[in-house]
Symmetry: C2
Amino acid sequence: MTLSSAVSKVQLGKGKIMSKEYDVAIIGAGTAGLTAQEEVVQHTDNYVLIDDGPLGTTCARVGCMPSKALIAVADDFHKCTFFDEYGINGTQKLIPDYQKIMARVRSMADEFAHGVIQEMSGFMDKVIRKRARFLNPNTLDLGDETIRAKRIIIATGSTTVIPDSWLPFREFIIDTDQFFELETLPRTMAVFGLGVIGIELGQALHRLGVQVTAINRRKTAGGLTDPKLAEYAFDHFSKEMPIELGTAEILGRTDTGLQVGCGSKSWNVDRVLIATGRRPALKGLSLENLNLDLDADGIPVFDHQTLQVGNLPVFLAGDVTGRQSILHEAADEGTIAGYNACAGTMSRFKKRIPLKITFSSPDIAIAGLSHKALMEKGIDYVVGEASWEGLGRARMMLGKAAGRARIYAEPQQGRLLGAEIMAPAGEHMAHLLAWTMGADLTIKQILGMPFYHPVPEEALWDAFFQIAEQINEPVPMPMLEKIKGRSHGE
Amino acid sequence: MTLSSAVSKVQLGKGKIMSKEYDVAIIGAGTAGLTAQEEVVQHTDNYVLIDDGPLGTTCARVGCMPSKALIAVADDFHKCTFFDEYGINGTQKLIPDYQKIMARVRSMADEFAHGVIQEMSGFMDKVIRKRARFLNPNTLDLGDETIRAKRIIIATGSTTVIPDSWLPFREFIIDTDQFFELETLPRTMAVFGLGVIGIELGQALHRLGVQVTAINRRKTAGGLTDPKLAEYAFDHFSKEMPIELGTAEILGRTDTGLQVGCGSKSWNVDRVLIATGRRPALKGLSLENLNLDLDADGIPVFDHQTLQVGNLPVFLAGDVTGRQSILHEAADEGTIAGYNACAGTMSRFKKRIPLKITFSSPDIAIAGLSHKALMEKGIDYVVGEASWEGLGRARMMLGKAAGRARIYAEPQQGRLLGAEIMAPAGEHMAHLLAWTMGADLTIKQILGMPFYHPVPEEALWDAFFQIAEQINEPVPMPMLEKIKGRSHGE
C-alpha cells in the first residue's frame, strides 16, 4: 500500500461541504488520541483531531484518577478503625461526610481533566467537536461537513454497557461514567462484578460505610487467573465484605431502589453499580462502509504490532482495540498509530512487558504472563510462592498482613515468565517483577539483588528461593556471587 | 595460609580450663553471627557461638523492627490531622496514648526477638553465654575457660556512643538501645543528629505530638550526600518540625531535664535522644593480642571481599566492620565469613548493589553509588531529576505530594550508576532503581519498561527521559522499540 493509492475517491453525502483534505485524522481526543497527536505533529501540521464528547480523557474524568482519589480516603479511614490496637483513642468519633468526600474526588478529577484540556490549548484549532463516521477508508462524514484524510486513526476509547433487559431499571443503575458524578453515596449498594473496577470501588464504598453486597460469577477478584491465588483473593475479600458467588440479577423495583438477587438470595438496595467492564466504542463509526473483517467480539481485525486495520489506511489505538483498559498501553498505541500514520511503510513495535494493577487493598497485579496465558500457550514453568501474612513489616502496619503471590519461571535458568500477586505495596512489587522480566535476569542474578529489611519485597525472596531450588541447575549459594580467582589477601 | 599452620600454639591463662578445640568460633549471635552459623553448620558440627549480651539481634530488639512499628503509628496518626481535607470529620478527637503505643511497639519487638531466639533452639547447645577476648588468633579467653578454634569470626555488632563530656547528664540522655524501653514518651525532646535514626525517630515523635527539636551539623537528612537533594530534604523536614543547623551542646541541668543549645539558641528539654550513629563493638575483645593493623577508625584492616583480617584465621562480619548498619549486608557478610572460615582457601564474593533506606516520610534512599562516591571516584555522569511535588497520585494521598530524586547515569548508554531519592514509596522505588542498576540496563531499555498509571514510579520516567536526552546517542523514540523487518500486515 502506498500513500497515494490509499487516498481513494470520495463519495460525498448530499448537501455536505467537502471542506478539507488532511494528512491524518484522529478520531477521539482521549489518551491514545492525544499521544497520536503528539507523534503526528512531529511529521505534519496538516492533521485534525475529532471528538464530540467531554474532553479530558476517561482516565482523568471517570477512571484511574477519581477512583484512586476515593480509594485513598477509604483506605485511610478504614485504617483508623484499628487505631485502638495502635494505642490511639477516639476513632469512633470519626465521621465520613459523603458529600465532602465526593466533592473532593470530583474536584480532583475536574482538575486533572482540566490539566489535560489545558495541554490541548496549543492545538485547539485542530480539534473538531463533531461526531465522525466513515464513508470510506479516507473519508469521514462529520454531519455538516465531510473531510478526507490520507490516514485515519480510530481512538474512540470504550463505553460502559448495560444489558437491554436492565434498561427499565436504568435510573437506579450507576455505571462508572456516572459514579463520580454522585453528590453523595447511597446507603446500600449492590456491586455487579469483582473485576478491577468492582473490587476497587466496592471495597472503597464498603470501607466508607456503604452497605455493599458484591456479586461475582467466579471465585476471583481484580482479574486474577491463577486458581489458587484467585480463590485466596476471593476468600480474603469475602471476609472483609459481603460477597456472593453467582450470577447477579435485577428482580424488580422497591420503593426506593431495586431488588437484586443471586441464586436463592435477594436484597433490596438503593443503587446497583455495574462494574462488568467497558467495551470498545465502535458504534456509530459506520465501520460497515469499510468492508472490514471483524473478530469474534466485533472488533476490526488489525495488526497488533503496526495497529493497521487490514490493508486500509486506518489504525486502531487505545481502549477501542478491546484489550483491557490500561493507560500506558493506550498511550503507547497512540504513539505507534501516529508514527505509522505518518510513515511511508508500516513499522512493527515491541510491546512493553505486560503489567496490570488493581488498586484494591491489598493491591492485585499481574506482571508478564498470567497463569491463564501460560496455560493457553502450554509453556513449561516452575512456581515460587510468597506470602505477606506473617511478614514482620506488614504486621506492623494495621490491616496489611495479608497477601500472596505466585511467580512463574522457566525451569532452565529460572528466568521469570510472569507473576500474579496480591500484596501490600503490590503496585510497586509488580513494577519490580515486570522490570525483572524485562531485564531477563536469571534466578541466580535475581537472588543477587538487594532486598532491604524490613520491606514487603523480602517476601518475594521466598518465592525466588523456591524457584532456585526447582530449576534444572540449582543455585548453590544463591545470594552471593563468587568472584573468580583467589583473593590477594591470602 | 593453611588450616594446619593457622592453629598455632595456645597460651593458657592461670587457672583456666582448656575445654575444647573447635573448627570455628563465632563471637556474637546477632544477624551476622547467625547467618555465619547457618553457613558453618553446612560444613562442620564442631563450632561454637559466643555471646554474653541479650539475644534476638539489634535489628529485632532495638533497631529496624521497633522503629518501623513506631513509625507506622506516627505516620498513620499524622495523616489523620489532614482528614478534614478528605471530608472526614472528628480527627481532633483522636488522642494518642503514649503508654499503649510504646507497649505495642515493645511487644512487637519482643515478639520478633523471641522469634529469632526460637530459631536458635536447634543449636542452643552450641551457644556459650560468656564474653570472649582474644589471647591469640586461635585462642579465646571466656573468663572461666579458654577455647581454641581453627577460625574465628568476629560478629560483635555495634554499640551506641555517648561522648565522655556528656556522661554527667547520662540519666537524661536516651540512646537507641534504651529508647524502646521507655514506658511513655517525654513531653519535650532534643534529637541530636538527623541521620537514619535521627530523622526516623525524630519525625515519628514529632508526629505523635512530642515537642521535638532536632539539631544537625549539616544541611542534610537520612544520609543524603547530593548537595541539591540534601538541602531540599533539610528544608522539607524543617517545614514540618523544628530543626536547627549547627552543633548540638548540652549546657546543663534543669529541674526536670537538660538545657541544650545550638549556636546562640537554647532550649529546656525533658530528654535528649542521641542519634549520632553506632560504632563497631570492638572494645573488650583484646585485639591488641593479635598484633593487627588498624584503619583510621580503629577497625582491623580486613579484605572486604573475603572478610579475612590480615593473614589471620580471623574474620569480620556485620556492623563490626564499621560500614553503615544494614541488615542484609550484615547477613551476607555472616554467610561469606562462615563460608571462608570453613574453606581451605579464601573465596572472594561480589557485593550486592548498595541500597540504603531511611524510613522517614517521605522515604529517603540511596541506591548504587551516592553522589559523594561518584565525586570521590571521579566518575563522569549525567543527572536526571524527578519530583513528586505535583504528581497526581501523590497529591491524592494526604501529605504525600513531596519529594525529589537525582539519578546518575553514565553518558554513553545511560546505564544507571546511582541514585539519591526522597519520595513517597521511596523504599520501593529504591529497590526498582537498585535492581535496574544490577541488571545493567541501558536508558533505552529502561524507557521500554512498563510504568503504570497512576503510580509514584511515573515520576522516575521524567528523570530517565532527561538522561536519554543527555547521553551521547540520544534515544529517538525511547519508550518503544521498533522490531526489525516489515510487518506481514502490509
